[in-house]
Symmetry: C2
Subunit: 414 residues, 2 copies
């Protein structure tokens, strides 16, 4: 877990403000839920592997006997936990407040989540997620709105060149069906296929054989993978050419419709078809997508349709689709851009200048829209000004006793 | 703990943005710390009564024996806890990062804290605190900056009429000295004096007698309290007239200097001297103050000087003074003001309108600076539009198949 010093905190708040502004413009309504959820809800199987990484809150008021009794089943020590994602809280929120929400609810959440990860580069135990979700719309209009809004936010952040890698779980299902993988083998097969980028076709085939899945299916699938060339364009013919004849027709039509709709609102709709995009969560049912950027090997975000999941809380099926952007990764990518246009002035004063004079000058500048820091002169004025410049201050002025606003001579810093 | 629906969340983010903008203009630098701190640090005696209200995190990887061994001393079940204030994390942050911070560090924190309070009106288990602190400035310049910045923020929020009730722990000490309370009695005496507003002079005297403090001191103090009239103005003569001759001279000079400095930067510096303002925390050493508003009986914030406390983490004395505004109370006070000037349009469409048409219209409006929500027409159009109006939408337009931007006829909502 990290402390954020002022310059980093400023950058983070600026990125959050841009994302919030863009998503809000696209009709997404921000909500907030408490950081803690019921222990049982966090461990209901929706969170996948993340459930194991939850921080649990020690139950209050346990007596010694209760602790002893909980030695073999520690679940009794905890009734609350910190959320590890924003999807479980959203499902609970929607089930609780549905009557007060629009029929199609476009949710925005930007908030921290916690996972007890082992410390490693780029993994944090507390990190911000930025999720938008459309609940209550079964049509591809929802995907088109999510992707359009996210591309607009990414544009506004100044990250040109992103692409949307997209697939549909129904295409994957149809593909596995085509090669004859048994239904009960498929969850494991998908886990292996997800590694294709890293281990290649031969690696996938070897791992599938290790898993002991239907040999004929593996043989056919390996031959197909080895002969494959990616779709040259995001057009129906090119996409269909990548897939065996007749595979995933419904999913392909859906992807083309999404791309057409997104393209109607933007100069560029940078889609890329990836029939082997899996995305790990078990709850996806349709479209799945990831945001890629040429400068990094990992995705900058992703999401998909999860029509069955909200229903588990509500006892009634509700279609839903979400897009989570990797806030921390985006902040890291933007790290170089630390510009802040607002004028900011350091007022350097000697010890004998009256505090009333300083406050009067400071508030006069503040009311002109300037950010102001007071600094009592030290022997090392240079280092004092260098630090101020690093903190985003753009100019300084020396204050003498009794000075007025018109006496201040602003000089540029650095 | 509360969920925030869109209209409430929007209001909260707006208030946060105003406070952030004003404090930043006044030279305060925002920082952020993780929500969890070491259990030992949270229970080191700085947090006062709040320490008992901390949510503790269950240690991970405990085996059954370790749980059994912890039955009598549950401290071993937890190595982390959720912060219950922003002062303990600030002290730890400052001790860690001092070398990278300016000599006088003006900190801003706006973040949630957690306390296991019993549910009651106006008390929440998760709530946002908004703290500014000046670390490294022993002079009253720090108080003047804190109070000036906070009054500016309150003005910007649109809450006219606040006053700053102010006192100095040194005045209280001098007063208790004057009446002959023994040094070891004083912490208890202060707790009782803090109730003066509620129980009056007779109540205070009775409680002090119950506490068994020096009878002659109580008699003298009761007579003083009963004869007392508040200071008519915030001027030296009026303030000194409230206090027994010679009591608290140093503290009074300090308060007058603060008020003069704040007054130099503002048309009105609404100070009110309260010699019985105590504020609960044990760590205060000098100036203490609270923000009062005529519409409510509780304070909207407060703070004071705590010169000894940071030193406990650093092994070296560092002066510090802070002002915490009651974010939740301010949001509640502002609840009526839900205005949002930004234009926001609902596009009502039939099912047969192409999604590409909808996305094109939506993005055209978004690029004009408009917030847009798509709504498929329902039988009850009126209720749909009423909900949109409640969510801050200001107009609507009906979309027919193939419509372009110039075909849209915007009509005001509500």
């Amino acid at each position: 877990m990290r402390d954020f010093l002022p310059s980093e905190k400023t950058r983070r708040e600026r990125v959050l403000a841009v994302i919030r502004d863009r998503y809000r413009a696209h009709g997404f309504d921000e909500i907030e839920t408490p950081v803690m959820e019921d222990h049982a809800r966090l461990h209901a199987g929706i969170g996948g592997d993340n459930e194991k990484l939850a921080f649990n809150i020690l139950k209050r008021g346990l007596d010694a006997d209760a602790v002893r009794d909980a030695a073999e089943d520690q679940g009794a020590l905890s009734d609350l936990g910190l959320r590890y994602d924003l999807t479980v809280p959203l499902a609970r929120f929607y089930a609780t407040h549905r009557a007060q929400l629009p029929t199609v609810f476009r949710s925005l959440q930007m908030a921290p989540v916690w996972r007890a990860e082992r410390p490693q580069k780029g993994r944090y135990r507390q990190f911000v997620q930025s999720d938008i979700d459309v609940i209550g719309d079964a049509s591809f209009r929802a995907e088109a709105e999510l992707i359009t809004a996210t591309l607009d936010a990414i544009d506004a952040l100044g990250l040109p060149g992103v692409t949307v890698r997209i697939n549909d779980r129904r295409i994957l299902d149809s593909l596995l069906d085509h090669f004859g993988f048994a239904v009960e083998e498929r969850p494991g097969v998908l886990i292996t296929i997800d590694k294709l980028d890293k281990i290649g076709p031969a690696g996938v085939a070897a791992e599938l054989r290790d898993r002991g899945v239907t040999p004929a299916a593996v043989d056919g699938f390996e031959a197909y993978l080895s002969a494959l060339a990616p779709a040259a364009t995001f057009a129906g013919d090119a996409i269909r050419a990548v897939l065996p004849e007749g595979v995933g027709a419904e999913g392909v039509e859906n992807l083309l419709a999404i791309a057409e709709a997104v393209g109607a609102g933007r100069d560029s709709a940078p889609f890329e078809f990836d029939p082997f995009l899996v995305r790990g969560m078990g709850y996806y049912t349709g479209t799945i997508f990831e945001l890629a950027h040429p400068s990094v090997g990992y995705s900058l975000g992703g999401g998909g349709r999860y029509d069955g999941m909200i229903g588990r809380f509500l006892g009634q099926d509700v279609p839903a689709v979400g897009f989570s952007i990797g806030f921390e990764r985006i902040v890291d990518l933007l790290e170089q851009d630390d510009s802040d246009a607002a004028p900011a002035v350091v007022l350097v004063h000697d010890k004998d200048v009256a505090v009333a004079t300083l406050v009067a000058l400071k508030t006069a500048l503040v009311s002109e829209g300037v950010r102001v820091r007071l600094e009592q002169r030290t022997k090392n004025l240079k280092s004092l000004l260098e630090r101020a410049a690093a903190d985003g201050y753009t100019s300084f002025a020396t204050v003498s006793a009794g000075a007025r606003r018109e006496d201040l001579e602003l000089k540029p810093l650095g």
